[in-house]
């Protein structure tokens, strides 16, 4: 089937979409946006977190067809040209990135948290990011990154 969807502000069209495939697969394999990562395919790890109509969701749990006529924003759409989003900057500066596979999802989820809660407490951050698994960093630097980004917004 064909799916029409706005991705990172651009009207896009994906063809030959299998009816059972996920938004994640469509983004990665058909729309040339491999930034969102496929790690668990069951909504447990958050590596594929994207905005769907401004709400962060696991793209692996959205059927591609459900994105028809909706708007998606991925990690590739956070920076303005060369200018990183403050959350992205903070992740680099705080050392919140290691292998980087969980990073795209974490950046989107943290971005949403700071949009809703400009100055989150530590427990709020831990809770908001609980669905984003990271096996490398031990989470500490991710917490630092969110605090740093909050202080700059």
């Amino acid at each position: 089937m064909r799916v029409n969807v706005t991705v990172n502000g651009e009207q896009r069209q994906a063809d030959d979409v299998w009816e059972g495939e996920s938004l994640l697969f469509m983004l990665r394999e058909r729309l040339g946006l491999p930034g969102s990562k496929n790690a668990c395919e069951q909504g447990e790890c958050g590596s594929c977190t994207v905005y769907l109509d401004n709400v962060p969701v696991c793209a692996c749990l959205v059927a591609a067809g459900q994105a028809q006529d909706r708007s998606v924003r991925t990690v590739e759409g956070l920076a303005e040209g060369d200018q990183l989003d403050p959350v992205q900057e903070a992740f680099v500066e705080a050392g919140a990135v290691q292998c980087g596979f969980c990073t795209p999802g974490l950046v989107v989820q943290a971005h949403d948290l700071l949009d809703r809660v400009p100055n989150p407490s530590d427990p709020e951050i831990r809770e908001a990011l609980a669905g984003n698994l990271c096996r490398c960093t031990g989470y500490e630097k991710i917490l630092d990154a969110v605090r740093l980004a909050a202080s700059r917004r």
């Binding site: 495939e21 040339g32 292998c99 596979f101 990271c134 031990g138």
Partner: protein
């Protein structure tokens, strides 16, 4: 610059989603391969029906043991599968690769794989541990001194379950041939590991195999070996004349891409009345998956940790019908330390001695099993600083002495040590006309920070900003550097980067003085901070190269393997933690953490701290959550991230990490030892000890789950 916190050079491309991982590789005309796996745990394949799959839309080929892709036997041991896939009909484990379907698209390949049927001559799989076994045998035994002395003071057994690495990135390989040259994009802890393996099994000259693995989404040992998708994608691509991409599903990663084996350790210790150990015996039992050869020397950590005139460790291997067991972060040490550190705590309680004090009384000033001196050891300082910073002296002597509402509060500590070594590495540094320097070696960055270590060390040696250094990793055409494993990347590669960065300065000076276009032609020159000078004239190397119209100068530097039979080399540390256990439901939670590490020179404080924190969190998982279950059919039943629980953000307290930063001059001029694995060693023991302190319940079988604490 060395030791200061530096931003990760690969940070920007990772926060924007631009860093290319193996599965992101786009090659025109790429086809997709999907693995068919066995649905029994032991037996023989008697037949496979592939007709429906072959007739399915888009299918290009279906390979099976009855219609195999030729792969030669593996020669080297790489801690992975003993046998290349599809070359025989024996089923050694559930989830073993028995077929490979290649189709135009991924969903076509998956659909067709679902149509392949297999018949088996089935036998009951062996999964009991230690229990009934196919062939149990005692292996190595190391003895120091005589055996036990006097009456056993303490004895107990400790067990650990199967665990999985759960790196976030599943295993992926993309292969493409150009004539008889193979290019392969794959997950790996070392491009040369892939190149050697493929050269063996494909029967192709290694020089014609180009492996690219620039970014790897975590490894922890699980990407040291090359699993079935690697040779299959390459061989199928050769047979079909098309690029092939193969990605393991998460369940396939669990089944076939390695796991930490199950272990049991029985410790017997004797000591004097004042708590000086007189003997330690540790009988270790480890599982080995019949898919592979590797097993843990789980008791060996006992040989090097505490001073004791008598030491004996044994290793018994129990083969099971499972995929290959393989190295997983601190293989042997993570499990080994759980037993010994728990036992030391139990012994301390039995003697009425403080656990830190007992460790100091048995401090190994020499390597316990060899009697040789250490290259450098400041573990006593780790204990003392840790105890002081943590407030250890305020710890109640009694168990179950502190409660906060319904939560019982306890504290515990443990020792961490991990072996250090320096291998041989070669690194190339090239200076470019645009004023940048590139540093290349076949090393891998699995998230460890190796890119940034290369940049820091080269920048430091060349006297230029880190931002002007471009590290290139994960490319088999670079000079042979250390693979990412055994915590020796920085220790091995670091000195080679320094050597190469010095050598390239000599090359630059030669150019400056011998190239007729050079303003320094025939003069005496010196190099400093990225520039060549003579008399009053100073010119940056970029300008000099441009002036001479030369595309670059380069040098390869080699740092040799360290052969030093006179010393013992290890990194050291001490963990202190607070645990809370709910009085009524038994839920255990870690609420405070301090690790003090003595790991030689710290090259990048920011990345190093994160490495230790990450290892501690993996240790918290090992202690409280992580266990893979096996059912009667020999299937891992919780082979996904919803059922195999790893710690989430909300489970983790602040993890305080301190580095002593004593350089180790014996290991290298750089003085760096390893930190990748040190952090997990002792974590489970510290937590078990804190849980005991909180509740009075001693759990000797990991993980420490709530039902064990009632």
């Amino acid at each position: 610059m060395i030791g200061r916190p530096v931003d990760r050079v690969d940070g920007r491309i990772k926060v924007t989603g631009a860093a290319p991982y193996a599965a992101d590789t786009k090659i025109p005309g790429v086809t997709c391969g999907y693995l068919v796996t066995s649905t029994i745990g032991r037996g023989r394949l008697t037949g496979m029906d592939t007709a429906a799959a072959l007739a399915s839309p888009g299918v290009l080929a279906v390979y099976t043991p009855f219609n195999p892709l030729k792969l030669f036997a593996y020669v080297q041991e790489q801690n992975d599968e003993r046998f290349p896939p599809l070359q025989d009909t024996e089923i050694r484990f559930f989830g073993q690769a028995i077929g490979f379907v290649v189709a135009e698209t991924w969903e076509q390949a998956r659909d067709a794989a679902g149509l392949v049927t297999a018949t088996y001559d089935q036998q009951p799989p062996v999964t009991e541990f230690p229990g009934r076994t196919l062939q149990a045998f005692e292996e190595v035994e190391e003895v120091v001194g005589t055996q036990t002395v006097g009456d056993i003071t303490f004895t107990a057994s400790y067990t650990t379950p199967f665990q999985h690495h759960c790196a976030m990135e599943p295993h992926a390989t993309v292969a493409t041939w150009n004539g008889d040259h193979l290019t392969v994009y794959t997950v790996s802890q070392g491009a040369l590991l892939v190149q050697r393996r493929l050269s063996e099994t494909l029967g192709v000259d290694a020089a014609k195999i180009h492996v690219l693995s620039p970014h790897v989404g975590g490894g922890f040992g699980g990407k040291w070996g090359n699993w079935a998708q690697v040779p299959l994608a390459c061989a199928a691509s050769r047979a079909l004349g098309r690029p092939v991409k193969a990605v393991l599903t998460r369940e396939q990663v669990f089944a076939m891409a390695g796991h930490r084996p199950r272990t049991k350790q029985t410790l017997a210790m004797t000591c004097t009345e004042d708590g000086k150990l007189t003997s330690i015996v540790n009988d270790g039992v480890t599982s080995r998956g019949l898919g592979g050869n590797w097993s843990e020397s789980v008791a060996n950590w006992t040989l090097t940790t505490y001073a004791s005139p008598n030491l004996r460790v044994t290793k018994t291997v129990v083969p099971l019908n499972l995929g290959a067991a393989t190295v997983m972060r601190a293989p042997g040490e993570a499990n080994g330390s759980f037993a010994l550190e728990s036992a030391m705590d139990e012994l301390a309680a039995q003697l009425g001695v403080d656990p830190v004090e007992l460790r100091l009384r048995n401090y190994a000033t020499l390597v316990p099993n060899t009697g040789k001196p250490w290259s450098g050891k400041h573990l006593d300082e780790c204990y003392r600083l840790g105890a002081e910073e943590f407030g250890w002296s305020k710890r109640p002597k009694q168990v179950r002495a502190t409660a906060d509402g319904d939560w019982l509060v306890g504290t515990g500590m443990a020792t961490a040590t991990y072996g250090a070594s320096r291998g041989q590495a070669s690194i190339k540094v090239r200076l470019h006309p645009d004023g940048t320097a590139s540093v290349s070696g076949t090393a891998a960055d699995l998230g460890t920070g190796q890119y940034t270590v290369f940049a820091i060390l080269a920048a430091d040696e060349l006297g230029i900003p880190v931002t002007r250094v471009r590290p290139d990793l994960g490319d088999s055409t670079s000079p042979a550097a250390a693979n990412a494993g055994g915590s020796n990347s920085t220790c091995t590669n670091g000195p080679a980067v320094q050597v190469a960065a010095k050598a390239v300065q000599t090359e630059l000076i030669t150019l400056a003085t011998t190239n007729p276009r050079s303003p320094f032609y025939g003069k005496e020159v010196s190099y400093r901070d990225g520039s060549v000078s003579s008399g009053g004239l100073t010119m940056s190397f970029g300008t000099l190269l441009t002036t001479c119209d030369v595309g670059g100068v380069e040098a390869v530097g080699t740092s040799p393997r360290l052969v030093d039979p006179e010393h013992g080399f290890r990194s050291f540390g001490a963990h202190f933690c607070e645990v809370r256990v709910h009085r009524l439901t038994g839920e255990p939670r870690v609420t405070r953490w301090l690790s003090v590490c003595d790991a030689g020179t710290i090259v990048n404080a920011k990345a190093a701290r994160s490495q230790i924190q990450g290892a501690v969190v993996m240790g918290i998982g090992q202690a409280l959550l992580e266990a893979t279950e096996v059912d009667v059919s020999a299937r891992f039943t919780n082979a996904n991230l919803a059922s195999y629980l790893v710690p989430v953000h909300a489970d983790i307290p602040r993890i305080d990490v301190r580095f002593l930063d004593h350089s180790d001059p014996v290991i290298s001029g750089l003085g760096a030892k390893g930190i990748g694995e040190l952090g997990i060693v002792g974590v489970a023991g510290a937590i078990a000890n804190a849980v005991h302190h909180a509740t009075g319940v001693r759990v000797r079988d990991l993980p420490i789950t709530l039902d064990k604490l009632l």
